[in-house]
């Protein structure tokens, strides 16, 4: 079975690194970007199986990125999960209402991240 490819877009280098290590420890192939624009380009370039993105980023925000990906037929079906430290309920609801596949509030444990990730990958088939 081919390795699943996850794209991580995260402003904070430590968190980006943390997620990447977690994924790689679980056998996922990881591509990462520190801003939305790069993330968008990488998704087109690599066609990942999963996009995990921060919400607030310089330049293209997580929401912008999500909408852009969903609008593009090439990337429209890629499972997408927001990860943010914004604990307001409204933010979570807005993200899900937009159609994001999942939402993860920072901080999170390894188990929490991996449960959601596995679920998303299973859904995508």
């Amino acid at each position: 079975m081919q390795r699943k490819k996850a794209l991580i877009i995260e402003n904070d280098a430590i968190i980006r690194e943390c997620i990447q290590v977690m994924y790689e420890s679980e056998g996922l192939e990881v591509i990462s970007a520190r801003d939305g624009q790069t993330g968008y380009e990488l998704s087109l370039q690599h066609a990942p199986d999963l996009v995990v993105s921060d919400l607030y980023m310089v330049g293209l925000s997580g929401i912008d990125l999500f909408e852009r990906l969903r609008a593009d037929p090439r990337t429209g079906n890629i499972p997408f999960m927001f990860i943010t430290a914004d604990a307001r309920t409204a933010v979570r609801e807005e993200c899900l209402a937009l159609g994001a596949d999942d939402f993860l509030l920072k901080p999170f444990t390894f188990e929490e991240l991996m449960r959601k990730t596995r679920s998303l990958l299973a859904k995508a088939g």
């Binding site: 904070d12 209402a97 901080p107 390894f110 188990e111």
Partner: protein, 922 residues
Amino acid sequence: MKGGIGGRLAIIFSLLVLVATATVGFLVFWSAYESLIEVSSESLEHTGETIEVRFEASLEAISTDVLFLAETPPVAGIVRAFAGPYMSAKDGGFLDEATNHSDAEWREQLAGVFAAFLQNNPSFYRARYIGLVNEGREIVRVERIDGQLVTTSTDELTQSGHHDYFTEAVNLQGGDVYFSHIDLNQGEEADVPPGTPTLRVATPVRDADDEPFGILVIDVDFTHVLDAFRPLINEDEALYLANSHGDFLLVHPDSLAATVVGPYQIQDLFPKTASWFAGAAGQPAADVAIPDESLITHEDRLSFNSTLDPRYLVFVITSPSETILARVRKVRTWSILITVVFALWGIALALFFSRYLTRPLRRITRALDRFGQDDEPPIVDLSMKRKDEIGVLARAYDTMARQIEAQIEELEDKARRQRIILETSAEGIIVTDGQGIIETFNRAAQRIFGYTAEEVKGRNVNMLVFRDEHDKGANGQVSFEDAGRWRLLGNGHEVTGRRKNGETFPISLSLSSFELGGEKKYAGFLQDITRRKQYEQTLHEAKLSAEAANKAKSAFLANMSHEIRTPLTGIIGFASLLARQVSGKHKKYSQLIESSGVRLKETLNSVLDLAKLEAKRVEVQLGLLQVHTEAQEVVQFFQTQAQHKNLTLDFRVDPESEDACARLDRGAFSSILHNLIGNALKFTETGGVVVSVEADAERVHVHVTDTGVGIDPSFMPHLFDVFRQESTGLSRSHEGSGLGLSITQRLVVLMDGEISVESEKGQGSTFTVSFPLAHAEETRPGLEVLGVDEARKAHSSMLLSGQVKPRVLLVEDNENTQFLIENLLEDAYALTVVSNAEDALLEAFNTEYDLVLMDINLGEGANGADVLRELRAMPTYSTVPIAALTAYALPGDKERFLEMGFSAYLSKPFNAEELLTLAARM
């Protein structure tokens, strides 16, 4: 009082009395006149009758006398002598052989009888014995000449056989009496004066063979008889008596005779008598003062000797009506007098009565006039004790006056009160007319505006009040006049006022309009709200700053949260990662780092929760939950933890309360129990925790009882305070933020619940939360309607009690989505999946589902909305929850679907939690 009722009454009454007495007087006068005339006529008639009686008596007497004379012996002797042989003149002629008397002797005897007879009857002036022989030559004749009785010598005796009286009388039967006409002596009778009425009375004498022999005749001076009538005639009466020709025989009194007797006959003077005379009526005597209407007359006839042609006398008795009129006039005078007297009396009475009637009336009217004009008390003596209408009127007036007095007093009292209210009112009160001209300006208004009432009365209210600043539509002026147009009528309009010193200030104006005496008025009630406005401004500013502070706090919390979470992510993430990759002591260390991070995260979450609760930003979604099921789930969650601490954790349900439901937010209720059970375990070192559910008639209670350290009574009041733990500082023995109970309590209250605690230090504590019982029928309309179907109801109750799995129909054409939902729901639900509209309807028709999850886009053919319409048309699905699952997620889509009839809406892609929440809620 001129023209008053009294005067008019007097006049009318007097006129009535006048008319009445005049009428009565006239009637009395007239009837008196009539009866007097009648009495006079009767009197005259009576006189006439008396005359007649006397007349007849006189004639009777004369007849008797004549017949007596005829019976004397000489009369028969002479008859016999004349039949006897003639002797000689010397021997006295013939001889009566029966008596042997000569006729001469008989004549002498008879003359003696005659003489004696005449001597006794002065009215007889001649007596004669006339025989048929010798052509009616007188046999004996005695007459009164110059008062001497003279017996005519035989030689001087005359023949009288040619006279009517002889020829008429001689043939009469014996015993009959003849009366001649009564004629006036025209001179042929020398023995009586001319003009004397004379009557001849005769009776026949027959011989032995009853052959006529001659007559005995007496000449009567009728004056005596007639004069006997005079005394019967009253003083002012007159008697006119005439013979059969109308010649006057007697006129009494004599003074009248001169003018009447001679030229006239009786029928000339009295035409009424004309019918008694043969031939035409006499000529009316125009040239003489004949008796006329002024005379009362009585006419009659005196008849005598009916055997021959009627002989009669006509008489008229007159009485001057003047006499009667004089008497009548007396009556008239009397009646006039009486009329006048009665009229005067009447007038006097009328005046008296009118005064009697009108005086009290005048007094009442005077009292009415004075009423209310002066200070004199209007209650005056008004003949109130009278029992008549005047008394009634007076009493009515009195009652009215007293009532009016009382009312006036009441009104004055009211007016006084209103004036006091007006003047002491803290609100300024301005009353204007329809044009806004100020009429009333009370003390408070004077204080507010600085004007005195005198300064503003009569001026327009515009000088005082202005339109408030937001409404500068027109010239900014307020006129009460067009208050309606300005929509100013009503309460609490803010307008601007201007004081006398020019200062403007805010006013709260309540304006009302009313009608007074047909005029429109406006009453404005004003309050100077300068201070209120300042206060409001301050308040507003305070509110704004508070809001700003609150916003800042929220922003701060959000930022803090974000800034703490970000580094924590690294800490927890790497720690959890590390724990998987190292072993032994290092693994333990990294796990400690991770759990510390997690605790920090939980504290952070609690702080945020509390902040949200305090800001009332938490909205609970209440749904019907079976309390014991929810509680059991949480207990289950803590089992592992309890085992780690070697504590028992038991769950008990009162069997009768298994069905108890309450309207709760699942998350909030769960977090309440998490907190309580977590706390119980945390503070319990030995023993265990019991969670029990029971319900009474109104509420369902959940008790969490531990055998832990208990709570010190002194801490009880602070139990639910924020950041409070009983042990603080260095001696703090239990970890935790101290926020849990605060949050718990707020969540309980938010869901209409109550929380209480019983504790004994060292023995343990029991926390109890309770919520109002809710019933499925009330809160789940879907089930309620389905309840019509008994089987369905039974199914519903089984669903609630967890005996059967709810039946869910998924209509979805995308296989991936089908797969996902199947995985998510298959544990708790009996799921049937169809992929097109036709199958969906068929399936829905065959089986009654508890929930339908409907994709909208079903590829070709009918879509989910069409299926929905079909389902909603089926009675069994009219209220079954049908949720829309769709990728249509643009703003407004949700509302559109709900409007269509979907019970819920879930946009794709959705996550597991969302779907489960939705399914559970349904």
